[in-house]
C-alpha cells in the first residue's frame, strides 16, 4: 500500500479524535498526535484499535510507545502490512 494512501486513511481515523481542527487542516507526517492535534492521551488507544481494524493488523502495546507523530503511525502500519 502506498505511503500516501496510508497517510490519508490514518488522518481520516484520527480526525474525530482531534480537538485542534486548525492543526488537522495543515496535518503533515511530522504533526504530533497528542501535542498538536490535541488527541486525548486516553483516547489514543481507540485510535490505535481503529488502525488495527482499518488495516487488518495487530499492534503490540509497546509499539504504541513509538507512535508520536502521524508519520510514526504511517511507518508502523506500513511495517505491519509488510
Amino acid at each position: 500500500m502506498q505511503e500516501s494512501e496510508v497517510f490519508q486513511r490514518v488522518v481520516k481515523i484520527i480526525s474525530p479524535f482531534a480537538k485542534n481542527q486548525a492543526a488537522l487542516a495543515g496535518v503533515s507526517p511530522g504533526t504530533h498526535i497528542l501535542d498538536e492535534l490535541k488527541v486525548n492521551s486516553a483516547r489514543l488507544v481507540d485510535v490505535v484499535l481503529a488502525f488495527e481494524d482499518e488495516f487488518g493488523i495487530e499492534i503490540a502495546d509497546e509499539d504504541v510507545d513509538e507512535v508520536n507523530t502521524v508519520g510514526d503511525a504511517v511507518r508502523l502500519i506500513r511495517s505491519k502490512l509488510g
Binding site: L34, S41, A42, D46, L49, D61, V64, D65, V67
Partner: protein, 249 residues
C-alpha cells in the same frame, strides 16, 4: 515493555534500600498524620489487614494492588488499610510501591526527594509514551522481585465519583501481560463522607475497605489483551463498589 537496563536496576535497588533504611521514620509518621492529624479511621481494619497478610502468604506469585481512586492520598490510605506501620517495618516488601502523577507529586526537588524515599515512581500521566513504558517496566521488575505495587486502573481520580469502567487506560493490563502469574488484589476504599472525587478526604472521615483477589486471563493479544485485562480489573472494582453501597444501605 522496555527491558530494564543494568543501570535502571541498580537505581531501583538503591531506591529500595534508601526507602527501607528510612522506613522507621516515614512509615509511622505517615500513619500518625492520617490517624492523629486528620482523624481518619478504617472500619474493620484488623480484618482487612489479616486478609492482606493471608493473601500475601498464600502464594509467592507477584501481587499487584489495584484500587479505586477518589482523592490524592488514596495510595497512603490503601497502604494504611492493608498493614500497620509495625508490620510493614517487618515486611517491607508488602508496602506497595506507588505511581504518583509526576506533575502533582514530583514537580519540586523536595517533593521528588520525599516520593523517592516513600517507594514512589512518579509517572507522566498522558505524557511521553516512552517514559510511561519505562516506569511500567520498573513496576514489572519490582513485582517479579516480590515487591507489592499499587496502581489505579482508572488512570486518575474518578470524576464521576464512581468506578469508571469505560476508562480507556490499559497500563494495568500491560503490567499484567508482562508479569506472568501476577495476581491482582482489588481494593475498594471509600470514606463515608466521600460523595465524589476531591483533593483530600474530609477530616475525621471513616473509611471502609473491600478486597477481592483476581487472576485476570485473556485470550486476546497485543493492545486488545492489555485492554481486556484492565477491563476485568475495573469490572471487579465496580462490583466491589456495588457491594459497598448495597451494604451501606
Amino acid at each position: 515493555m522496555a527491558e530494564l537496563s543494568p543501570r535502571a536496576r541498580l537505581a531501583l535497588g538503591i531506591q529500595l534500600a534508601v526507602g527501607r533504611l528510612l522506613a522507621p521514620l516515614w512509615v509511622p509518621l505517615s500513619a500518625a498524620l492520617m490517624r492523629g492529624a486528620m482523624g481518619w479511621r478504617v472500619e474493620g481494619v484488623e480484618q482487612t489487614r489479616a486478609e492482606y497478610r493471608r493473601i500475601r502468604d498464600a502464594s509467592r506469585e507477584p501481587l499487584l494492588v489495584c484500587a479505586n481512586h477518589l482523592t490524592m492520598v488514596d495510595s497512603a490510605l490503601v497502604a494504611w488499610a492493608l498493614g500497620s506501620p509495625a508490620w510493614y517495618l517487618m515486611h517491607p516488601a508488602a508496602l506497595p510501591w506507588n505511581l504518583p502523577d509526576r506533575e502533582n507529586f514530583a514537580s519540586t526537588w523536595w517533593a521528588r526527594a520525599v516520593v523517592y524515599v516513600m517507594k514512589c515512581l512518579p509517572i507522566p500521566r498522558g505524557g511521553d509514551r516512552g517514559e510511561v513504558s519505562s516506569v511500567l517496566a520498573r513496576v514489572g521488575w519490582l513485582l517479579r522481585r516480590g515487591e507489592a505495587a499499587l496502581v489505579f486502573p482508572e488512570g486518575g481520580r474518578s470524576r464521576s465519583g464512581r468506578v469508571e469502567q469505560d476508562s480507556r487506560t490499559y497500563g494495568v493490563g500491560r503490567i499484567l501481560g508482562e508479569v506472568p502469574g501476577c495476581r491482582v488484589l482489588c481494593v475498594y476504599l471509600r470514606g463515608e463522607r466521600q460523595a465524589s472525587w476531591s483533593r483530600m478526604p474530609a477530616r475525621g472521615d471513616r473509611f471502609r475497605a473491600r478486597l477481592a483477589l483476581l487472576e485476570p486471563k485473556s485470550v486476546a493479544s497485543g493492545l486488545r489483551r492489555s485492554l481486556d485485562l484492565s477491563r476485568q480489573v475495573l469490572a471487579r472494582l465496580a462490583a466491589l463498589e456495588e457491594e459497598h453501597f448495597r451494604d451501606r444501605g
